[in-house]
Each structure stands twice: as structure tokens, then as C-alpha cells.
């Protein structure tokens, strides 16, 4: 494999997803097809040479050519995420290097079923997988469970509704941990074994599970899936701590 080079991506679009989360579309001079679940490194350089670098999951499908979407949560005191949220505008250029990572990835040619468990912005790599699944017209059964604080914190809510409405074997479950709107019919608590067992039930034997979110969330989810009958080798995890800016 040849080395990944830094290239200069140009911001083509910035879309707010929630109050704290924005999606950035970068066009890339040397776009390379990624695998859903991979990430890019993004690097900022100050005039005196000071640099700050972070990794961000790709949100777009590999079928979308010549550009990538990165969905980035603004982290309190996050040096890079704060800059991207507050200072970057369409037309700005930043250095990017990727796609990176060969483990937390899913391809529509793989057998399912697929079980995706996301905490907060942990849904970003799952979105790449689901957009890829839709673009590839895959009928692999898939279930997504997303944990968010409130309805307004749900990232990609409208698109997830739309994807689920295709009735092509994808089911989306939400849990809202802090507050629920009137008439809410989804889950209303932090993830636990009972919830995981319900969401995992039809598929526990042969499904491939992906879990992404804050460390404590991932620990709970991965342990719960093991108790629901998943082999540890069928559970792929990706964690971000409070410093994962």
C-alpha cells in the first residue's frame, strides 16, 4: 500500500445537523474511494508552523465521488472542532489525509445482518455504511439503534427516517436519554441489556455488530451484546473519549 499523502480539500458546503454538529463537504483533488466506516485525518497549520490534527469519520457513501462529507461535533474547548465550527466558511481550504482504517468498515458485498449501535456522533460512520447500503441497493437486513440526549440532538434524523421508509430491510430505533417530546414512542432511557437484546434479537447469531460512541457507551453496548449472544469477534467497536476532538 502506498503512503497516504496530505492533500488540500476545499470546503464546498457546510450544513448544520444539530446545534452542536455540522457536516462539511470537502472536494478533494485526489479523491480515493473509501470503505464505509473509515476516517480522514484533518490538519490545521498556523502561520508560525504550529499544527493541530484530528481524525474524523467519513459520513458520505463511497459511491459519492470526488468529495467527502465529515460530520463534526463541536467539542467543548476542542481546538480543531471549535475552529471548524466557528471560523471555517465555504471556499476555505484545509489539509486532509485518508481514507484510513481497515477494521471498523463494512461493505455491501459482506453478508449481513448488520447491527449498528451508535451513541451521539458515533452515528457518523454508521451513516456512511447506511448511505452505502442504500446506494448499493443492498437488501442486507440492518438495524440501527441511536442514542441521543433529546430529539433536537438526533443527527441525520430526517435522512434516517427517509432511509427507514424505503422498507428495504433497514430498521431504525431511537432512544432519547434526557427528554422526550410529547407522544414519543421510542426508547426513553440510556441503553441497557434489555434494549440491546430487543434490538439485536432477530439477528444475534450471525449478525455483525458495530458500536461507536463515547467510551462508557461503547463499554455498555459491547458488554450487553455479548450477553445477548454475540461472539466478541462479531462486535467491532470504535470509541471516543472527551478528548476526541
Amino acid at each position: 500500500m502506498s503512503a497516504l499523502v496530505w492533500q488540500i480539500g476545499t470546503v464546498r458546503e457546510i450544513r448544520p445537523e444539530t446545534a452542536k454538529v455540522k457536516s462539511f463537504t470537502f472536494s478533494l483533488p485526489e479523491w480515493m474511494r473509501h470503505r464505509a466506516g473509515q476516517h480522514y485525518d484533518l490538519r490545521l497549520t498556523a502561520p508560525d508552523g504550529y499544527r493541530a490534527q484530528r481524525s474524523y469519520s467519513i459520513a458520505s457513501a463511497p459511491e459519492r465521488e470526488s468529495a467527502i462529507d465529515l460530520t463534526i461535533e463541536r467539542v467543548e474547548d476542542g481546538e480543531v472542532s471549535t475552529f471548524l465550527h466557528e471560523t471555517v466558511i465555504v471556499g476555505d481550504r484545509v489539509e486532509l489525509r485518508g481514507p484510513i482504517g481497515g477494521y471498523f468498515v463494512w461493505d455491501a458485498t459482506q453478508r449481513g445482518p448488520l447491527l449498528l449501535i451508535a451513541g451521539g456522533s458515533g452515528v457518523v460512520p454508521m451513516m456512511s455504511m447506511l448511505r452505502h447500503r442504500a446506494a448499493a441497493r443492498s437488501g442486507v437486513p440492518a438495524r440501527l439503534l441511536v442514542s441521543s440526549r433529546t430529539i433536537d440532538d438526533v443527527i441525520y434524523r430526517a435522512e434516517l427516517d427517509q432511509l427507514a421508509s424505503r422498507r428495504d430491510g433497514l430498521e431504525v430505533f431511537h432512544t432519547l436519554t434526557r427528554a422526550q417530546p410529547a407522544g414519543w414512542t421510542g426508547y426513553a432511557r440510556r441503553i441497557d441489556d434489555a434494549m440491546l437484546a430487543e434490538v439485536a434479537r432477530p439477528s444475534a447469531k450471525d449478525a455483525l455488530a458495530f458500536v461507536c460512541g463515547p467510551t462508557a457507551f461503547v463499554e455498555t453496548a459491547a458488554t450487553g451484546l455479548e450477553r445477548a449472544g454475540f461472539a466478541a469477534t462479531r462486535i467491532k467497536t470504535e470509541r471516543f473519549g472527551p478528548t476526541g476532538t
Binding site: T87, T215, R239
Partner: protein, 207 residues
């Protein structure tokens, strides 16, 4: 170095804050907490069944139970550590057994070149022997004066502080001595074969 591409509007954090520059490798930033990263669920290992083995190209494999392992000469280590996800943590405090102490209890075959660190849960990583001898690596079982918690690799993990922290394999089970430096888990999934933070050896193909 190629010409610097300066990001419009970016000045970064005040430079005075933080630690001496010579302790933070390029592309890294300081953290004060201890983030957890792993590829799968956290294994829970029964100490009664735990064992550590050195095998492969040695005259006779050696295996330690938990009690036997604790009886080996332990040392305190204070080390800076860097994760490929760009965090660096200074002055982490460990207690453990140096790999020198383990390797002097086996007789290495003349062909011995590298180690495969194999773990409970199935993780593996590769290390050159030249990266783990002479005080460069240890099996840590206490962190900050307390037993190493499972999510950080407890009961015991390999610690190789001068390489990116994916080389510091959690839940260590065996060190297999081999004559070839073959990629382990992350090294087969896009990450660098050696992983020196000061050379920014993050991904496959980096210099």
C-alpha cells in the same frame, strides 16, 4: 519539509500553555485524562486462570501464573505515552515487570528477531526485539498506584512507551518470539509496521 500550507484564520492554542515541546511528538496534542480505545469488547479475565507465556523461538517456553508473575522483580516506570489518534499524555505512572526480566528467563534462539504480542480477546501486535529490550518495554499491572482496570488492559498489558500506544497491547497473554517482523492486527489494517511517534509513523507507507 515541503512548503507549509497555512490554514486561513487558524492560530491555535496559546503556545506557552502545555509542556515542553521536546516531549510532544509532531501532530500530537496533550491530554490530562486517559482515553480508552480498543477494537472490540473488553475481556474480563479471571486471575485464577490468567497466565503469561513466552514461547516461539526460545529453548523452552516459560509460563507464569498471576501469583508467579507478581513474584518477578517489579519496577516503577514514569513514561510519556502517545496514541496514534493524536493524544499524548505525560508522566504516566506504572508498576510492572520489564521485558528484560522476562526474556532473561528464556534462552533466545539466534534467529530471534521480533515478538508477536498475543492477547486475551485475540488482538496481536508485532514488535522488533530491538524495540523492547534494554528497559524500553514492560508488562504493566498497576497504573497510578492502583490495579490496572480492565478497560485500560488489566489485569496486565504490554507497555512500549516510545511507540504509538496500539503497540502497548492490552490484556497480554503471550509473547511469541519469531524470526520475521510480520504485521499484527492494526498493522494489517492500515497502520504502520513500527509506529514511532517522533517519525510520525502512523499509517502503512509512512516513512
Amino acid at each position: 519539509m515541503p512548503e507549509l500550507f497555512v490554514t486561513r484564520g487558524f492560530s491555535g492554542r496559546p503556545r506557552a500553555a502545555g509542556a515542553p515541546k521536546d516531549r510532544i511528538p509532531p501532530g500530537q496534542h496533550l491530554v490530562s485524562d486517559f482515553p480508552v480505545l480498543s477494537a472490540g469488547p473488553t475481556p474480563r479475565i479471571d486471575l485464577a486462570k490468567w497466565q503469561l507465556e513466552v514461547n516461539g523461538l526460545v529453548r523452552a517456553p516459560v509460563r507464569w501464573s498471576w501469583q508467579e508473575f507478581l513474584a518477578l522483580p517489579a519496577e516503577d516506570f514514569t513514561k510519556d505515552i502517545s496514541c496514534v489518534t493524536t493524544w499524548t499524555k505525560l508522566d504516566t505512572k506504572w508498576r510492572g515487570v520489564s521485558l528484560d526480566a522476562l526474556l532473561e528467563r528464556v534462552q533466545l534462539d539466534p534467529r530471534a528477531l521480533a515478538l508477536v504480542a498475543a492477547c486475551y480477546g485475540g488482538y496481536t501486535t508485532n514488535l522488533l526485539l530491538s524495540d523492547v529490550v534494554n528497559g524500553q518495554a514492560f508488562i504493566g499491572y498497576e497504573y497510578d498506584g492502583k490495579p490496572l482496570p480492565p478497560d485500560h488492559g488489566g489485569p496486565a498489558r504490554l507497555v512500549v512507551p516510545h511507540l504509538y500506544f496500539w503497540k502497548s497491547a492490552k490484556w497480554i497473554r503471550a509473547l511469541r518470539v519469531v524470526d520475521e517482523d510480520r504485521p499484527g492486527f492494526w498493522e494489517s489494517n492500515g497502520y504502520h509496521i513500527r509506529g514511532d511517534p517522533w517519525k510520525e509513523q502512523r499509517y502503512t507507507g509512512d516513512p
